[in-house]
Amino acid sequence: MTAPAPQNGPSWLLHRPGDPAQVLIRGARVLDPRSDLDATRDVLVRAGEVAEIGESGSVEAPERAEVVEAEGMMLAPAFVDPHVHFRVPGHEHEEDLETGTRAAAAGGYCAVIAMANTEPPVDSAAVLGSVRDKALTEASVPVGFVANVTQGMAGRELTEMAELREAGAIGFSDDGLPIRSARVLRRALQYQRLAGGVIALHEEDPELSAAGVMHEGEVSAVLGLTGVPAVSESTMIARDCSLALYERARIHIQHLSARASVEEIARAKAAEVQVTCEASPHHLTLTDEEVRSLDSRFKMNPPLRTEDDRQALIEGLREGTIDCVATDHAPHAPEEKEVPFEQAAMGVTGLEQAFAVLHTDLVLPGVISMELLVRRMTQGGESFGIPAPRIAPGEPANMALIDLEHEWEVGAGGYESRSPNSCFAGRTLTGRVMMTVAGGQVAFRQRSFAIGAAG
């Protein structure tokens, strides 16, 4: 997808150049909330752009275009994930840009934003340059890279944010860790006036969450596990929203997990703080009851919380307090998860299942509408200056073709991701991405999905 770049500046999103898509998608239900479109249409993509949208049966396939018979399927703008971990550099045995973007493409994504808590972290223009170069040869889906807010993610000295921004940092984050010091964060927010770029914040007060491995509540009480109280998140959100208001800065709050956090964001938005936020598919569909199994696949940070918290997140998604869905795709090697719960690494993968999980658990039971889900899954880039993709003539082709009736078992056919730590493994989901066009190129086709040629 195209991203607005500053004059003579870098592009924020990078991927491997390839053949532009030439494809006619026939007879799908085309749903694009931003184009006010929900109807059966033929969509022609020529040279990587949406060329024509017409009544079903009215659009002719040009020569050498791929024709996809998509009756009964849904064609939506492809999704944008503002929060993934691709483990490059340093942990390529868990994920790299090739496998990570393959997972993204299989999940219907046309753009993802990679976090900077790598080894070494992305705290210098040199490291940022190296991962951006890699994206040009390895990424099948456009990737944006944030750079760190503080050097070495140590929370003390700011990175060279202005230089990093010029070198292509799509935003800034020490994700994985909170910025413990209010003084340091305040400096970063001031410096944003020079450097630009939204600051994305992982909110957790280590004084309250230290040593915690799951939500503090009834389940942790019975299991004897140290809990992370919901207030460890909400108090930091309150602090940082106050700082952002004071400095008139822009912040993005990552992975909300608790009702108190949603309420803090709602208050901040009402007070005209420039704040956006995200919630993950697992926090929207699972609770700490899952942890009773002591299965380390349910260990992540922030932790799964209560049903009341989950309901608050859904309500926030509905009302717009929560702007977007983000997977926090966090691959881990099996040996980091095949250990007792307290020792296991935190994090779950999510790109390949995100849509199907939310479709199965929230849309099919009628909790949220399909239109809302598509909206929240496509606007994850907006906080970072990346507008949500649209299906409209002249727009670059970024779309996901989805069979809404296709049932599949997560993990049964393996994963595109290099790591298998999905908390939905073994679940049967309804709705599967059959094809993804990202940045004007066909990035993914479901193996079983037959295609035809014009002619």
Partner: protein, 321 residues
């Protein structure tokens, strides 16, 4: 029953059966020759990642009384010291084809994981702050012998509930047998949500202690505390120590050991006639014999072993049919 992972997944019938079995072993314990041949030729591995005196020794002795071969491994000095993962350690030990693995580990759920990695019966001898089922069973056994039944009894568990796996297992086991449980301790050492999750009463002072039939004092677990949960042991003792002034003449006293004398218990009550502490240790042996017996001689334990030479092995590719 294949494993004993926690009290949480025990039914009252299973618990009663174990306790009845323990009674029969108590009878064996009064004979001159205390050994029975039940588990002759079977191997039991005891794997302790945390220090233990009474649990490890009583499981070991229980296994020997049943004539099993016992391999005891302590984390210090083993491959665990060299960084071997739990999974790899279990794979290694499973190669000896043990009938049971008894495991104590500092992390909740370690025994559950091990049960998924081995064919052996797995006995949880304490997993982090989670459960310690054999302790809870021996406590129920001790009380049942003294009181006949726990139905309707009032049991106060006093002290550091937050860090105590014994408290969690006992709370469930006492409840399972029909007792009413009250948890009492400083607010900083009572886990948030425990009352809602378990239905136990929670109180922060000893004012109502007179209602208790049984006072179960917990050990102050300094070793699990990395920070100060109470201002001082002096203030803790002043508020929560069970002494002869607080312990009524008809109340029974229990403690899982080892006792911090002068902290949770005053010396005079430890050695009083109301104290069941020594009986708890004695019960430990017979209850653990009963656990091993029930898990290893159950009807589903007969496993036919087909080696590479067994008659029904499929022919290999290239092998003449």
């Amino acid at each position: 029953m294949k494993h004993l992972l926690g009290v949480e997944n025990l039914t009252r019938e299973q618990a009663e059966r174990l306790l009845d079995r323990a009674e029969s072993f108590a009878e064996v314990g009064r004979r001159d020759i205390k050994k029975v041949p039940t588990l002759r030729g079977r191997t039991i591995v005891s794997l302790f990642y945390e220090s233990s005196t009474r649990t490890s020794s009583s499981f070991e002795l229980a296994a020997k009384r049943l004539s099993a071969d016992v391999v005891s491994i302590k984390a210090a000095g083993s491959a665990v010291d060299k960084g071997e993962s739990l999974k790899d350690t279990i794979a290694t030990l499973t190669a000896y084809d043990p009938a049971a693995i008894i495991i104590r580990a500092p992390q909740a759920g370690a025994a559950h994981l091990v049960a998924g990695w081995t064919d052996a019966s797995v006995i949880n001898a304490g997993d982090g702050k989670h459960e310690h089922p054999s302790q809870a069973l021996l406590d129920v056994f001790t009380l049942r012998r003294r009181l006949g039944s726990l139905e309707g009894t009032r049991i106060w568990i006093v002290g550091d509930v937050l860090h105590s796996r014994v408290a969690r297992s006992c709370l469930m086991a006492f409840g399972l047998m029909g007792a009413h449980v009250t948890l009492c301790g400083p607010p900083t050492l009572i886990p948030r949500g425990i009352a809602e999750a378990t239905g136990a009463n929670v109180t922060y002072d000893l004012d109502g202690l007179a209602e208790a039939d049984v006072v179960y004092a917990l050990r102050m677990q300094h070793e699990r505390m990395s920070e100060s949960f109470v201002p001082s042991l002096r203030e803790y003792a002043a508020r929560y120590q069970i002494d002869s002034r607080r312990l009524g003449p008809r109340q029974l006293l229990m403690h899982p050991g080892p006792v911090n004398r002068g902290v949770e218990l005053a010396p005079e009550v430890i050695d009083s006639s109301q104290s069941l502490i020594t009986e708890q240790v004695e019960s430990g042996l017979v209850v653990r014999m009963a656990i091993l017996y029930e898990l290893l001689t159950g009807s589903d334990r007969a496993r036919p072993k087909g080696g590479p030479m067994s008659a029904d092995a499929p022919p290999r590719i290239g092998q003449p049919a």
